[in-house]
């Protein structure tokens, strides 16, 4: 990531500049500055940034490499779960130790573990610590899991799929099956991750109990912005240069690239895995801001929405993905939040909470049919026109 790379990619510089200005504006408006912007809106913006990050990853794997993965939200969710396990464990441990300290006899290690287990898993009628929680007491190890678990899963899954030359729609369905299997597994109470309830109270960061949420939300906002910046630069680098050309060539004609002597599977596997890891990092930043993660978050529909964002934003351009994710998710919350005014038609009143999904579905068909380049395409058109 040297200087020449950035100069060769002016759009990346523009993006970074825009992101910095955005961050500064938010800081000024937030409680840290003028106090006009509410904490919940800062959280919404922080979460939106995380969605932008996974959308960029999705754009690379789909828009650049031609793999329509309908399973990237699974990695996002795994990232969230991995960080959530530590958050829950550490917070509960604090509570339990305080409570046991009042007893006359000091607790044994077993009693502490039992009490924490009972607190965390009491909700699903258990008190045993499942094996997958083995590292939950260590922040470092759990953060490592954020990267390792999705990375390994993507590596194994991708290796099996690409090796068997599963491509196109078959691969899409296969990735969808993967995220469905994961969601169903997590829905089980026996999964060890609290079933349908998932992990909650994640906004309370252990060690920062006395810090107000307004500060915590801003900190996570900065972290998300930084992650988006780094992720954007990383992917801009990956998709430029010789490697970028190979990746795009695979999208356009896989067989021809293979006949030219490239090991197509390795490239695809690399892209699939690295985007999965970035998706997981986005998830790890997203869920402490959302406060709760549960299996419904990684249902197949979430990954399809991800594809929708990227398609509307414009495939094959990184900023397109960012625009798509930000635009559609904010618009969606505006419409479903009752922000949009109802339209009275005389005989019938259009309530947008009811009709927003119809509008989204139809506009999605329209974009696919008439504007395959998405909003980003429009952007290109406007920028290029004067020059």
């Amino acid at each position: 990531m040297n200087k020449s790379f950035l100069i060769r990619n002016p759009s990346t510089l523009w993006f970074l500049l825009g992101l910095s200005i955005f961050t500064i504006v938010v800081t000024i408006l937030s409680d840290a500055g003028l106090g006009i912007m509410s904490t919940s809106f800062v959280k919404t913006l922080g979460k939106t940034l995380c969605l932008c990050l996974i959308a960029v990853a999705m754009d690379v794997v789909w828009g650049y490499c031609g793999i329509l993965s309908l399973g990237h939200f699974a990695f996002f969710g795994i990232g969230g779960y991995a960080v959530g396990m530590w958050l829950m464990y550490a917070r509960t441990e604090g509570i339990v130790l305080d409570s046991l300290a009042t007893q006359t006899i000091p607790p044994t290690a077993q009693e502490i573990t039992d009490a924490i287990g009972n607190q965390i898993f009491g909700v699903v009628g258990s008190s045993e610590f499942p094996v997958i929680w083995a590292f939950s007491d260590s922040l470092f190890l759990q953060l490592l899991m954020v990267v390792l678990v999705p990375g390994l899963l993507a590596l194994v899954f991708g290796w099996l799929a690409f090796r068997s030359r599963v491509t196109g729609v078959y691969l899409s369905i296969l990735t969808q099956a993967m995220t469905l299997a994961l969601a169903l597994y997590l829905f089980q109470n026996d999964s060890g991750l609290r079933g349908n309830n998932g992990l909650s109270g994640l906004q309370n960061i252990p060690g920062f109990e006395d810090t107000p949420q307004s500060t915590i939300s801003l900190a996570f906002f900065y972290a998300s912005a930084l992650a988006v910046a780094l992720g954007y630069v990383l992917f801009a680098w990956v998709t430029s240069g010789k490697m970028g050309s190979v990746i795009k060539a695979i999208r356009d004609n896989e067989s021809r690239v293979r006949f030219l002597g490239y090991h197509v599977e390795s490239y695809k596997l690399f892209v699939f895995t690295i985007t999965a890891v970035v998706a997981a990092i986005a998830g790890a930043l997203y869920y402490p801001q959302a406060g709760i993660i549960n299996p419904a978050e990684i249902a197949p529909i979430a990954s399809i929405y991800l594809a929708v964002w990227v398609a509307i934003g414009g495939r094959g351009r990184l900023y397109g993905a960012v625009i798509g994710a930000a635009f559609v998710s904010l618009l969606s919350s505006w419409f479903t939040g009752g922000g949009a005014p109802a339209i009275p038609l005389g005989f019938y009143t259009i309530q947008w909470t009811d009709w927003w999904l119809v509008l989204l579905g139809v506009s999605f068909v329209a974009v696919t049919l008439y504007a395959p380049k998405g909003i980003g395409g429009l952007f290109d058109y406007l920028v290029r026109k004067p020059s």
């Binding site: 409570s99 009491g122 169903l184 089980q188 109470n189 309830n197 959302a290 406060g291 419904a296």
Partner: protein, 429 residues
């Protein structure tokens, strides 16, 4: 009906006129009541009704002169059946709209999502749905049934009145059935039912392939014991389940089924003529006979439409809202801490006759009703208990039996009576 409506309207108008002068004096802003129910997504069907019920209650209260001389304003938001969004909207309600109280939530997971926010910002939430217990928050009043107000009495009815000796606990795989069935298993074992006589099965939301499970239940009768089914099956899945029961010819006389999540609304999705005699346990049925209920149903139909039915969580909101109004009036302010103190011991007549009392553990004392399904999709109430005090921590699980919730005297929702210490002040989410 028409006469009554216009009459009451004119009375309300008169009351409004007499109080509006007082209201103008000390009310710069109306008192705000947050309504946090999903209006879209999978839970909309259940929760929209509760939103409407809240709007009706607020309207009635305003017509009766408002509160502390002020107008009440309902602030309605839509968390869209999205659990993280519940936390976000709750924060918005408390910090942006600055509501004085929130009425909301249906699912347990949405409640757990909201809890940290409510506790952080010291809000006040009234939760109207039957739930699994094992929780006590300083900032939540649970106006729905705890397990000992629904599951345990229904199980007693099975043991005592129907002589059931072998139990099938069928549930949807989520926290409410899981916890309830854990409690029931412990309870049944305490009551001399052998562990091998309890069959437990969990199915996913919206499950439709019930043939094997129903066959398994029928086969439980092979050792000559009376079999009964306790169902915590949720929502749509009930339709396939009851259809399969009817197809297999399982009559209520042979294998009775008692359901905790099936009300008048769920039954409207199927033909009940083959299900007559199967049971449901609630704190309220629309068919309850009392003057208060007749008035409530009439007001509801006038407000929301002739074909609407009433249900148990609506009664919970009815009691909760009126208790809150009385507590605010007793405290003379909407300040959360003052209102909470005034809530303890609040009494309000419930719709089934008798009086609901708010206990120091933030639960109500309410009667338990058991109804038999009728061919017209309504319930015939065949058993009604005295008021049962709600219990936050069940007595039938060893870890919970030692816990007690008493916010009034002990100021703790998770008090260990053995070690005489407070385990934690926040709730377990």
């Amino acid at each position: 009906m028409k006469f009554n409506k216009s009459l009451s309207a004119s009375i309300f108008a008169g009351l409004l006129a007499s109080t509006s002068m007082a209201a103008a004096q000390d009310c710069a802003e109306p008192i705000k009541v947050g309504v946090l129910h999903s209006l879209s997504g999978s839970m909309a069907i259940s929760e929209t009704t509760l939103k409407d019920a809240m709007l009706m209650l607020v309207k009635q209260q305003n017509a009766a002169g408002g509160l502390l001389g002020c107008e009440i304003e309902a602030v309605v938001v839509d968390p869209a059946s999205d659990w993280p969004l519940f936390a976000e909207k709750a924060r918005e309600l408390l910090t942006v709209s600055e509501v004085d109280v929130i009425f909301g939530n249906w699912t347990s997971v949405s409640r757990k999502s909201v809890l940290p926010v409510i506790e952080e910002l010291n809000g006040l939430l009234f939760y109207p749905v039957q739930y699994e217990g094992e929780e006590s928050s300083r900032n939540v009043f649970y106006t729905g049934a705890a397990p000992n107000q629904q599951a345990i009495p229904a199980t007693d009815y099975f043991l005592e009145e129907l002589g059931v000796e072998k139990f099938a606990l069928l549930g949807t795989d989520y926290v409410y059935p899981r916890t309830t069935n854990n409690i029931l298993e412990a309870y049944l074992i305490d009551n001399g039912i052998a562990e091998e006589d309890i069959f437990v099965n969990y199915t996913p939301f919206g499950h439709s392939d019930w043939a094997t499970i129903v066959a398994d239940v029928v086969a439980l009768g092979e050792d000559g014991k009376q079999v009964g089914v306790i169902s915590t099956i949720n929502g749509d899945a009930n339709i396939g389940f009851y259809k399969e029961l009817a197809a297999a010819g399982v009559s209520a006389d042979d294998i009775p089924v008692v359901a905790f999540s099936v009300g008048e609304e769920e039954l409207s999705g199927l033909d009940t003529s083959n299900l007559v005699g199967h049971l449901a346990a609630w704190n309220y049925f629309q068919s309850a006979e009392s003057d208060a209920n007749t008035d409530f149903i009439a007001a509801w139909k006038a407000f929301a439409g002739e074909d609407r039915v009433t249900n148990d969580p609506m009664e919970a909101h009815y009691i909760g809202f009126n208790m809150w109004v009385n507590a605010v009036e007793a405290a003379g302010t909407t300040d959360v801490d003052a209102v909470r103190d005034a809530m303890y011991g609040q009494e309000f007549p419930n719709l089934t006759g008798g009086t609901a009392v708010m206990l120091p553990n933030h639960h109500l004392a309410k009667p338990v009703l058991i109804g038999e399904i009728q061919a017209d999709g309504q319930f015939d109430i065949i058993s009604q208990t005295e008021e049962v005090p709600g219990d936050a921590w069940t007595d039938f699980l060893p870890e919970s039996a030692v816990l007690k919730s008493d916010w009034q005297e002990l100021g703790c929702g998770m008090y260990n009576v053995e070690t005489e210490s407070c385990v934690q002040l926040t709730s377990n989410y």
